[in-house]
């Protein structure tokens, strides 16, 4: 197992989202609210989704956790707001592929999210990075 230097993991954009999370707080009214956690480390996440038909018009989160889980959730909310269910799901799947060490697909679409790629070298942290995305996938199944 070769480690990169920490700069690869703690990229500036990640630290930025951790220090200043976007879309943090309750979303009211909302259509879906999900609470999920990472049992191994205690990271907790509450995700709020609001739909207009098939479109995801509101996304917000609350939670406690490490920089990777919180930054990843914050970046996610920014990226998926405005997408439709299908697009959001595709993006979540791309991220999961990236975390499995595969090619994520269209890199341009991912934008900042590519900064999460460094996590792949830290297997135990992958679950942190995916907490938000897995919760999103569950939430999308509940679109009213």
């Amino acid at each position: 197992m070769v480690r990169m230097s920490l700069d690869e993991l703690y990229k500036e954009v990640i630290l930025d989202h951790y220090r200043t999370p976007r879309n943090r707080g309750r979303l009211d009214p909302h259509d879906v609210k999900l609470e999920r956690n990472n049992p191994l480390c205690g990271d907790e996440l509450e995700l709020y989704l609001k739909f207009d038909g098939e479109d995801l018009v509101g996304v917000a989160f609350e939670g406690k956790g490490c920089s990777i889980s919180m930054a990843s959730a914050s970046m996610m909310t920014e990226k998926v707001k405005g997408l439709d269910v299908k697009q959001a799901r595709a993006m979540a799947e791309s991220i999961k592929r990236m975390m499995a060490g595969e090619e994520p697909g269209d890199i341009n679409e991912l934008g900042d999210l590519v900064s999460l790629k460094g996590v792949v070298k830290y297997p135990v942290r992958i679950k942190c990075a995916l907490l938000g995305w897995n919760t999103l996938l569950e939430g999308l199944d509940e679109v009213p």
Binding site: L6, L15, I68
Partner: protein, 407 residues
Amino acid sequence: MSLDPEVVRKDFPIFETRMRGKRLVYLDSANTSQKPRQVIERIVEFYEHENANIHRAVYELAERSTAAYEGARAKCAHFIAAPSPRSIVFTRGTTESINLVRYSWARANVREGDEVLVTEMEHHSNLVPWQLLTQESGATLRHLPVTDDGMLRMDLLGDYITDKTKLVCVGLMSNVLGTINPVRQLADAIHAMGGLILVDAAQAAPHMPVDVSELDADFLAFSSHKMCGPTGAGVLYGRERLLEEMPPFHGGGEMIREVFADHSTWNEIPHKFEAGTMNIAQAVGLGAAVDYLHSLGMDSVRAHEMELTAYALERLNAVGAEVHGPSDVDQRGGAISFNVADVHPHDLATIVDQEGVCIRAGHHCAQPLMRRLGVPATARASLYIYNTREDVDVLMGALEQAKGWFA
């Protein structure tokens, strides 16, 4: 006789491994300990010269393996000052030992309306089995609270230990707070009510002298892998009278006396509880670990850890970490949980890992205690015989770096 950790360290081959070119600073012994050459070699010797199934066969190889296995049992009995090897049941570890008591003793003795008392600082392995038992039996599970400094609320004992209490389940040393609990006092209180006490010595046995008679324990559990022994082994001590009355745990070979088509009679203790082929080489390895610890002296082990814990607490306070649990090293062992402002324990662990430092981050299998402490997770550094001041210094340097990242 005082213990020189730099000398001890040489017994542990893993410290010859360098982590990314750096000295391996292993501060996670409360999770699992490293293994000395003496233990590894004993296991190899067993497989190369003594390997055979025990008790069952008449040839010489089987005599050797049986002698090695039963010899290990006698060593374990001696280690905790148990009156007889008959009171020592080999298991996979503390968790299985506790679940054995749940399935065998407690299913037969705990009824609806009875109470089982645990503490707010128990490891999941000494909590979840009692949740499952009380749910199944209709008994009530109660939790003895913990003070803000991480001590048991002994002042509440009168409310929590009553004639309804059938069993008290308590850790002798907390894996999160380090707290050494006043187990003898709890034993006296529950015995006065006619109940029993089960002592989780997973953290205590590796780090301090343990004497079942002094503790007046009815059951006591510990794990090999935390005390220099192999994984896959552990002990349940039980009073002989109790073990004799208890129904068997697993059914299978070796634990029987006679088997008929529809019923069976049981072997004598402790064999009644050792069904099937046991973890023979692991028990033998545990015996070697006991020898190893004896050669250092458990008093010296404890003295070394007290000194090093005092040093680590001082340094952690100096860097402004919030340390959980007692600050007096007389009242605690070397498992030290802490939080560093602005740096999540997970990030802390990842960053110090870059410096070759192994610490643990998370809930340490004690989620209810985390809620009590009001933190989602802590970082934990835990000390053992091979740790030095230098190890603590390296950790401190790494903590400073971590603070830098999130400043």
